[in-house]
């Protein structure tokens, strides 16, 4: 059965703010034999729902969670005296001690909502990117992790890479190659004359970043080159394998 261990003073918050009855004997801080205002208190939830309610509503300072399968999760939660409400528990689950094989990560609601929102924004940006790229460019991006664009004014070929971790650092290769080889070059270093770094501010999603680079290189190349910084060529196969946006 899930068990919560509260730090000093937190116990009373739990039992007085919880709307779910864990065990009537424990609900009153005045009658509970486990209640102690000066020492750590232990309360056993009747099920996971009750436990989750405590965690989401209580001003918990620290607790251990036993999920019943012998897995102990130790979490460092918000400090005593902070708000009792989950939307204000920004750092509640920041530190999670995990076993090496453990893949469970518990998020606060705020973290969860942020993650869902970031996914939605990312998905929207990839939809926009899909409409900006030609079919061949899109297939190249999905297959190889990059696509090639011909500059609108200089007619030089640029390879725009989708890098690991959505990094935008110098993700544009200026190619020496002609159209026939530019798209299937397989990364010989000698084919790259320099690398460019020019992108939207870092809070923009990856789809917007790549779409903006394509549009600027294709239809506003001079302005793009004026803003871009040149980097010496460093050959790394830093390409993110394409995955559909979750």
């Amino acid at each position: 059965m899930p068990t919560c261990t509260s730090a000093n003073g937190v116990w009373q918050t739990w039992v007085t703010t919880s709307t779910i009855t864990a065990s009537t004997a424990y609900m009153s801080p005045t009658t509970s034999p486990y209640y102690n205002s000066t020492t750590t208190n232990v309360l056993t939830a009747t099920n996971d729902t009750v436990y989750n309610h405590w965690v989401s509503t209580g001003g918990i300072a620290a607790h251990n969670y036993n999920n019943g399968n012998g897995d102990i999760y130790i979490k460092s939660l918000c400090a005593l005296g902070e708000s009792l409400y989950p939307h204000e528990h920004v750092n509640a689950y920041d530190h999670v001690a995990r076993r090496p094989d453990e893949n469970a990560h518990v998020y606060t609601w705020k973290e969860h909502l942020r993650k869902v929102q970031r996914r939605r924004i990312r998905r929207q940006s990839l939809k926009l990117l899909r409409t900006v790229l030609t079919r061949e460019e899109w297939i190249s991006l999905r297959t190889h992790g990059y696509f090639v664009v011909q500059g609108g004014e200089t007619e030089v070929y640029y390879r725009i890479r989708w890098q690991h971790g959505d990094s935008m650092v110098a993700n544009i290769d200026v190619l020496k190659l002609g159209a026939d080889r530019a798209a299937n070059d397989n990364w010989p270093m000698k084919s790259i004359s320099t690398q460019l770094c020019c992108h939207l501010p870092t809070d923009y999603p990856i789809g917007d970043m790549l779409a903006a680079q394509k549009l600027m290189l294709k239809y506003e190349e001079r302005k793009f080159l004026q803003r871009a910084n040149c980097h010496p060529v460093s050959y790394t196969a830093n390409i993110r394998s394409f995955r559909r946006a979750a």
Partner: protein, 78 residues
């Protein structure tokens, strides 16, 4: 009811769409104001592009009859 729209790249939405009905003068005017604010004051670059990405060009003025415009914020060198 026919509608047109332009897409604005946005860190908060990914793709923020401004929609108008070309037959509705108020909606067209509101879209024009939004376009002018972004392009002239925020220095966004505006492009018109086919849906398949094959053809496009840069534009400076709002044209309510254009089917699809994309507004790109200023890029920064890294």
């Amino acid at each position: 009811m026919p509608t047109h729209s332009f897409s604005t790249m946005s860190s908060e939405h990914g793709d923020k769409k401004t929609v108008w009905n070309p037959d509705n003068a108020d909606e067209v005017e509101a879209a024009r104001r939004e376009f002018d604010y972004l392009v002239k004051e925020k220095k966004y670059s505006a492009f018109v592009s086919k849906d398949d990405g094959s053809q496009g060009k840069r534009i400076d003025k709002f044209n309510p009859e254009l089917g699809r415009m994309i507004l790109v914020p200023q890029l920064v060198g890294g």
